[in-house]
């Protein structure tokens, strides 16, 4: 099997991969008529919803490589037809994670360094790669690490010498994952002609079902927690909406919503459930943070931030007239609950 081919089919988001598809003269019509690529495309999306990671398969021959390669643009079409922001993010993240895992596996079997070299080049990252560390110009580093929230990724906590950030190889692969995420999500959702979406209806329905299953429901949330999300202030509702759509939200917003919900009577478990939709959900980390805010270990629960603090961090979004009467999101909630209790159907 051609070496370049087997590389591209594992990393089908590379510009060289789409070049390849173009050069080989394959069109959308071909793809749609290629049943195997179509099925593999649907698998990609479903796997993304289910596990959050599109695993790279073992590639046996050229035929399979071609199918793998074609299934990627196809999967993008499927995701675009459904056009759900949560799915878009979830899918992009799962593709990036799949690639990440594959690179790590390659590293363990000894062929990884080669892949890393090639990927960095193909993704346009300026990096000086050697076996024990990687040097990346700080400008590239910042653009890649900006969504990583753990403190160790903050520039101030890195070895920065003469403009280069020093990383170990695994850390660099993590940044490659970020770059890949950016590459996959770019342009999504695509503008797909309606006829094409219609011709794929069967696949799309299956994906939608899967999607509905994977996603916690708003009503369940209410039933379990006894809280009334409709009475939450606009800022909190906005953060929850973002969480639900898998938008990566800043630290200050996470803190605010967690503290608010705990103060409003939700349990630690219930709050963790809310984060499950986050594209980079990590149960151990989330649990640790939520428990910390709940004061499980220290015994002191954090109070939710006031409106002034919310404003300072740009988290006061969608202020309504009730907001003029309060200075704290929790007061908003209490006031609204009272009002609703009086007028049960408003």
């Amino acid at each position: 099997m051609h070496e370049r081919y087997s590389y591209l089919c594992l990393y089908p988001f590379l510009p060289a991969a789409s070049e390849y598809v173009k050069e080989s003269g394959l069109t959308i019509d071909h793809m749609i008529s290629s049943a195997s690529a179509r099925i593999r495309a649907k698998e990609r999306v479903i796997e993304a919803i289910r596990t959050g990671c599109v695993q790279r398969p073992f590639i046996a021959d050229d035929m399979q490589a071609q199918m793998e390669l074609l299934s990627y643009p196809f999967a993008r079409i499927l995701v675009s037809c459904i056009n759900d922001p949560y799915l878009v993010r979830r899918y992009a993240l799962a593709e990036a994670k799949g690639a990440y895992r594959r690179i790590i596996e390659d590293l363990n079997t000894g062929t990884g360094m080669d892949t890393i070299h090639k990927l960095a080049g193909d993704l346009g990252i300026h990096a000086d790669i050697s076996t024990d560390h990687v040097l990346v110009p700080f400008t590239d580093y910042l653009q890649l690490a900006v969504n990583l929230r753990d403190k160790r990724w903050k520039l101030v906590n890195r070895s920065l010498v003469r403009g280069k950030v020093k990383l170990n190889v695994n850390e660099f692969v993590r940044l490659l994952q970020e770059a890949i995420y950016g590459r996959v999500i770019k342009g999504l959702p695509l503008d797909v002609p309606e006829e094409i979406c219609n011709s794929l209806r069967a696949h799309i329905e299956q994906i939608k079902e899967e999607l509905a299953r994977g996603r916690p429901k708003r009503d369940e949330f209410r039933a379990h927690s006894g809280a009334d999300p409709d009475s939450f202030p606009p800022c909190i509702r906005n953060i929850l909406r973002n969480l639900n759509e898998g938008v990566n939200i800043p630290h200050s917003a996470r803190f605010a919503v967690t503290a608010f919900l705990l103060n409003a009577g939700l349990s630690v478990e219930e709050v963790i459930e809310l984060y499950r939709n986050s594209p980079d959900f990590n149960e151990t980390m989330t649990r640790y943070q939520v428990e910390h805010i709940a004061g499980v270990r220290s015994g002191t629960r954090y109070t939710a931030p006031s409106c002034a603090t919310m404003r300072t961090y740009g988290n006061c979004v969608g202020k309504d007239e009730l907001c003029d009467r309060i200075a704290h999101p929790l007061s908003y909630y209490r006031l609204k609950l009272k009002r609703r209790a009086k007028k049960p159907d408003s």
């Binding site: 110009p137 700080f138 400008t139 910042l142 653009q143 900006v146 403190k151 160790r152 903050k154 520039l155 101030v156 906590n157 890195r158 070895s159 920065l160 010498v161 003469r162 403009g163 280069k164 020093k166 300072t312 961090y313």
Partner: protein, 387 residues
């Protein structure tokens, strides 16, 4: 400001602009410009005319000569349509700009004289330059250092590599300079023998040097003083402080520390954090790190045009070489006006040292001053032209 005073100051600015060698920034035509003019409302009501654009350096310079503005600003950003309203300019990139101003650095401005403030802010600017050259690897030629015309310094970096950074990325750079979010643990590695190894790179290097310096100082002090100084820096108790002194005086241990190994320090985490805290305080850049007032992270802000005049001081917004900052005295080197006699009526007490001369004004008196000092006081709004 009375009308005669305003006319006089304006005429002075016009004379300056007619002769000065103005230095427009790169890509003049892609920048948004903003001006405050000596119009009839000035300075009671300051109206900033924004969203102006010019096709060339010449066009810009002609405009400035025609209006001789009180304040002239350009965008850090370059836009496709610089004259369009904000939402439709199409941002293409932005210079990386650092704005160090005394009122970001000290909270009780009134306690300091203008001269002292200028010294303080200069020190911060020097630290900032150190970070940019060492940690960030810029060349001196990448940095354009400018005295702000008032109480601070600006540094413009126009390199292509920084132009695309978004505001969160820029915030990370500010955090680096100010040591915000610095975690000591990030620079400690556990060695196989249980000791800690300090990675002496980036902030790790600063912390490391600070630690060594601190321990040497301790070793040289008499026991009692050493205890006091350790307790002040780290907040630990007497017994722990004595442990630190023992380490500081033990040459073999010190040798190992200087080679990057921190023996037993896991038992004394307070030493480490305490020292780190005091090092951080002295070597980080003090800056406006208030979330409501973003400094370099605002990618759409306007910044004073270098070589223009500052309407509230009459001083020049003066570009200077990096290695000239140590000897730079804004109250001498940024003064542009001459020394013909001008008669003023003093409205408020005020004083300043300009060109090495001390001027002290008392409310109600009438004084004759050299033009450069007169311009300063009139721009400050503490004196009117006596006619």
């Amino acid at each position: 400001m009375r009308e005669e005073t305003r006319r006089f100051v304006h005429a002075g600015f016009r004379r300056y602009y007619n002769h000065a060698r103005l230095k427009p920034p790169g890509e003049v035509w892609m920048r948004e410009w903003g001006f405050v003019h000596f119009d009839r409302y000035y300075p009671a009501k300051v109206v900033m005319r924004r969203h102006k654009a010019f096709n060339s350096d010449v066009e810009l310079i002609n405009y400035i000569r025609e209006y001789a503005p009180a304040h002239a600003y350009h965008s850090a950003a370059i836009y496709k349509y610089p004259a369009a309203p904000m939402g439709r300019k199409e941002w293409l990139g932005a210079d990386l700009i650092f704005d160090l101003d005394a009122d970001h650095i000290v909270s009780d401005l009134e306690k300091y004289s203008y001269e002292d403030l200028l010294e303080l802010v200069k020190r911060e600017a020097q630290k900032l330059i150190g970070f940019l050259l060492n940690d960030f690897g810029f060349d001196e030629s990448d940095l354009e250092l400018v005295f702000s015309g008032s109480r601070g310094y600006h540094i413009h970096i126009t390199a292509n590599s920084v132009r695309q950074l978004g505001s969160r990325e820029r915030r990370e750079i500010v955090d680096y300079m100010t040591a915000s979010g610095l975690e000591l643990g990030a620079f400690l590695k556990h060695a196989r023998d249980g000791n800690l190894i300090l990675i002496s790179e980036g902030w790790g290097e600063r912390l490391f040097n600070g630690l060594i310096r601190f321990l040497h100082e301790i070793a040289d002090l008499p026991e009692e003083e050493a205890i006091v100084s350790i307790r002040k820096a780290t907040g630990m108790d007497k017994r722990q402080a004595k442990d630190v002194i023992r380490i500081a005086r033990d040459e073999t241990v010190m040798n190992r520390i200087e080679s990057g190994q921190l023996p037993n320090f896991s038992r004394l985490p307070a030493v480490w954090t305490g020292i780190a805290r005091s090092v951080t305080r002295t070597v980080s850049v003090e800056s406006a790190d208030r979330p409501d007032e973003p400094v370099t992270s605002d990618i759409k802000r306007l910044i004073r045009m270098p070589t223009s005049l500052h309407g509230k001081s009459s001083l020049q917004v003066k570009p200077l070489e990096i290695d000239a900052i140590a000897d730079f005295d804004p109250l001498k080197d940024a003064v542009v006006f001459g020394d013909s006699d001008i008669k003023l009526r003093v409205m408020h007490d005020a004083d300043i040292r300009l060109r090495g001369e001390h001027y002290r004004l008392e409310e109600g008196e009438t004084v004759t001053l050299p033009e450069y000092a007169a311009m300063y006081f009139m721009c400050r709004g503490v004196a009117e032209l006596e006619v």
